[in-house]
Symmetry: C2
Subunit: 362 residues, 2 copies
């Protein structure tokens, strides 16, 4: 967390401690803080405050928004999603529609197959389509204008998972429902954001009296999330240009190493994520050796609790699913950090291949 | 929050910031902090750490534990609960069992009608019974030994809502599933605790990959919750004796005012809660006048977002449901605070009655 975000958290601890649903003065103050923080977040993500909801986590936000939009589309029982969505999206969708989930494939860069997507939506039994903005694992940004056009033509509401993109690039414009993750933009964990367009129909699918955040949210955490997002957005241009340049350097270097494949769209992508797969290398071993050198990276799918399972996203784009390294560059990463990584990585990869007695790479 | 709790939160912000589900060193450190905090909480509430789960809120904990235990009792479709449970419990139960919820009444002090309870459990279609430990509104502590005996005889799992009691009295001993609320013991909001006995059967009722806290919990908040509970429990004896004496003073004074009824068990009760109803007084007006004098109290039901609806709990015990004042004394309340309140209250009540042209009270 930056100092400004931490300050917001701490002033929230002082001022926003009371239960905002009660009536007395302290609670009113907490409620005002909560409302203005939500308004600030809504503005930054391009949503209307009264249709922007806070949830206890992005996962729960996905679960509730998918269930809510699905319930309002009575009579239609299928959900269509891209094959590179997060596990959380696919699991929630599968749970809500009782297995009637259709996945649409992507090309080698991870872009949705638009014709196949439109074809699936032609059958009038689709309750909801889910397509992410930026991929958490390979960084590719979907062409949401074209995706939304197909969804609108079929009158199917489009849920956009922006949990990996907001705070790193301009927020997406084309969506009927949106989910965002404050922890991804430098805010606190344990908070999610759901936004709906005023026209998007949904029904509450939870016990009476609950809302999007049953029992309420942590007010100081919401303040910190709002400040963190504002700070990110103020520096977005400068940070993203700088990180994208570092990522370009890493991509170019990695592509020159034998038996290493750099994945994800080289241009239309999140500025801070770079992923490559290394032939004949065990992901866990590479992770451990980097970790020992003080470099924290996530190998394997960034969205699962076990980071060691083969990546569904990499399989979807037809890349190597083992021995992959996913780097998420936070705004503080320097050129020197990258130089150090690039000096270390090829040596570690070679070392691991020798230990595994891997065949020579031609 | 106390200073110790705040310190725990802040050291958590420094050390527990990484995602505890990842593999690298920082994440391992966050996971260790999380595990030891959960162990500490489990020990304080008399549960086993491996059967103690953190949730994003007590509400969500109630929803998930009710759904989970219910799902494991396949073929039994009814839920039995006391009529003085929290709205959150009753709404979650009603939602889970699709309306097959039976409420069992209480006596004038708010104690469950044990014979009626046992009678309801005789029919072998009961999936779950829910009875609270301490009532959030009138302070009465249920006789859980006798309640649990009835539930065990009928082989019905007993869910105990301890969200108003843990941190104020010794934790309950008799339960098959337990829900607790860190915010109630001086910890942060936006966190719940669910504990199960090793023998209590439940099934996950949520999307694949989720657990009790979909997307994880805020690690610093869990650390703060653990420290706050330890601190409360260290001072429990001293604090509860002191607060109970203040509550006795308030109860005695209020009982002497004309047209005022003090409610809840005078002996077997939470030490910090005192509630009384005032004839011919508008709850909102009384609340506003106390708030103006700088005294924050909750009028009406403590568990609903609108504190102005008539209280179901007060209706259940046959008390006045309007013009009620519920005081929750936090550990810092002094004798001087109570003196000030007791000087102010009868004057305000009289003033409001005059304004409302209430009839003379004989």
């Amino acid at each position: 967390m930056t100092n400004r975000t931490l300050d917001a958290f701490q002033s929230g601890l002082a001022d926003g401690w009371a239960d905002p649903t009660r009536l007395h003065t302290e609670s009113r103050r907490a409620r005002q803080l909560l409302d203005s923080a939500r308004e600030a977040i809504a503005e930054e993500i391009g949503a209307q405050a009264e249709h922007t909801h806070l949830t206890p986590s992005p996962h729960l936000g996905l679960e509730r928004v998918i269930a809510g939009v699905y319930a309002a589309r009575r009579g239609r029982d299928r959900i269509v999603a891209s094959s590179v969505e997060r596990d959380a999206t696919l699991h929630a969708a599968d749970y809500v529609c009782g297995g009637a989930l259709t996945l649409v494939g992507v090309d080698h860069h991870g872009h949705l197959d638009l014709d196949a997507f439109a074809g699936e939506l032609e059958v009038p039994d689709v309750a909801l389509a889910a397509v992410q903005h930026g991929n958490h694992e390979i960084g590719t940004l979907q062409r949401l204008d074209a995706v939304a056009e197909r969804a609108a033509a079929a009158r199917v509401p489009l849920l956009v998972d922006a949990t990996a993109s907001i705070g790193h690039v301009e927020p997406p414009e084309y969506w009927d429902a949106l989910v965002a993750n404050p922890a991804d933009w430098g805010g606190p964990a344990g908070l999610g954001v759901v936004a709906l367009r005023p026209r998007t129909r949904w029904l509450p699918v939870w016990p009476e009296g609950d809302d999007w955040a049953p029992g309420g949210v942590n007010v100081p955490a919401v303040l910190a999330a709002a400040v963190a997002l504002q700070e990110r957005r103020e520096q977005l241009e400068a940070t993203s240009v700088r990180l994208a340049r570092l990522v370009d350097t890493i991509r170019a270097a990695a592509a020159s190493w034998p038996g290493v494949e750099v994945v994800g769209d080289p241009d239309s992508r999140l500025p801070h994520i770079v992923t490559f797969s290394c032939l004949y290398v065990d992901g866990e071993a590479l992770l451990t050796s980097l970790d020992r050198a003080g470099i924290a990276v996530g190998s394997g799918s960034a969205c699962t609790t076990s980071s060691l399972e083969p990546s569904r996203v990499l399989a979807s784009i037809g890349a190597l699913t083992h021995g992959n390294v996913r780097l998420g560059l936070h705004p503080g990463v320097t050129e020197a950090d990258v130089d150090r990584l690039l000096a270390l990585l090829p040596r570690e990869i070679e070392q691991l291949r020798r230990e595994a007695r891997a065949p020579e790479i031609g």
